[in-house]
């Protein structure tokens, strides 16, 4: 962290600053819980390493859409103070209940037909209905969950750099990629290690089902953690 701060102090290039801010957001303890959930979600297709990697890329794309979209809205002239205040205040509040619901849907405990939700949590058995769209959606939502630290890094530092000119609008993209990189790397390493183990025992299918259950429980646990943190 100190190393990144030093680099940031000496950075004169906007893209490098955006990259460093993104990395600092990703590895800070503050959004750690959402990152762990994201890693779990991305590596749900554990038998296919390439698929895990692609999931990670689509997850990052989702984050990029949110970060660029928010910056664009501010660039177009919305009251920055109130806008960022709203996200800093409510960013973390919706994520707990949402994770809990997704987790329960994944476990098939409850069944609701929401267009977005059911895609995110489509039953564990019918694997084919999983699509990359889930990962995009998850990235989009997780990027909205600003915790205090990432809120300041994004609204306090990245956005002012971005909105000064239209040419700065590529910076949120760099920021988003940097927030996604650690998640992609860990998910891929996990898939790489675990798929080897699975092949040895030749029990991949059972393992996969259980792995997905573990991820569903992970969603529920992290959801409860956020609910306790924010509401109690």
């Amino acid at each position: 962290m100190e190393f990144l701060t030093n680099l940031l102090d000496n950075s004169t290039m906007p893209w490098l600053t955006a990259l460093l801010l993104g990395l600092m957001t990703a590895i800070s303890p503050c959004p750690l819980a959402t990152n762990i959930t994201a890693i779990g979600f991305i590596s749900k297709d554990i038998e296919n390493r390439n698929r895990v990697f692609l999931n990670g890329l689509f997850y990052t794309l989702g984050r990029a859409i949110t970060y660029t979209g928010l910056a664009l809205i501010i660039f177009l002239g919305v009251d920055q103070l109130k806008f960022s205040g709203f996200f800093q205040r409510y960013g973390e509040k919706f994520i707990g209940p949402l994770l809990l619901i997704i987790g329960l849907l994944m476990l098939d405990v409850i069944r609701i037909k929401f267009p977005g939700f059911s895609r995110l949590a489509s039953g564990m058995q019918n694997k084919k209905s999983w699509s990359y769209f889930d990962a995009v959606l998850l990235g989009l939502v997780f990027a909205l969950a600003f915790c205090p630290y990432s809120g300041v890094l994004y609204f306090g530092m990245l956005v002012p750099m971005t909105v000064t000119s239209a040419s700065g609008l590529y910076l949120p993209l760099v920021f988003a990629i940097a927030t996604g990189i650690p998640v992609i790397i860990i998910a891929w390493l996990l898939a790489y290690t675990v798929s080897g183990v699975g092949n040895v025992y030749n029990r991949m299918k059972t393992f996969e089902l259980w792995f997905r259950r573990v991820i569903a429980i992970l969603f529920i646990a992290v959801g409860i953690y956020y609910i306790i943190r924010v509401y109690l």
Partner: protein, 142 residues
Amino acid sequence: MKTYRLIIVLLMIAPFIGCTGQTSESEAKVADNNSDKIEAYYFHFTARCVTCNTIEARTKENLENLYPNQVKQGLITFQSINLDEASNKTLAKKLKVAGQALLLVKGNQKINITNEGFMYAVVKPEKFKEIINEKVDGLMIK
């Protein structure tokens, strides 16, 4: 007739005289209260993170260590303010704060060191101390 006119004129002018008198008085009061006093505010929400708590603790600690006399005399104050509490809305509005913020206020002057706080309070506490020292010294001279 003349007295009548005079009364009307006086009535018309009176509110203005009254107003100007009052404003200068209240302005003077505000100036009296704030001219020497430096107020540090840390605004936050109910749910907080490690960095946020560290910023609060370090700011308080640094002010006490750097300016022990002024803090004792109440010339430098530190307040931690929860934005989720309705009673703090007026202050937040007055200082134009909507999210987390670390502010140094003296009269009408306001210095925002939120970014510096989030950057340095945890990883480079010494640098954070220097920044506080420099900004508060700057406010004292003015």
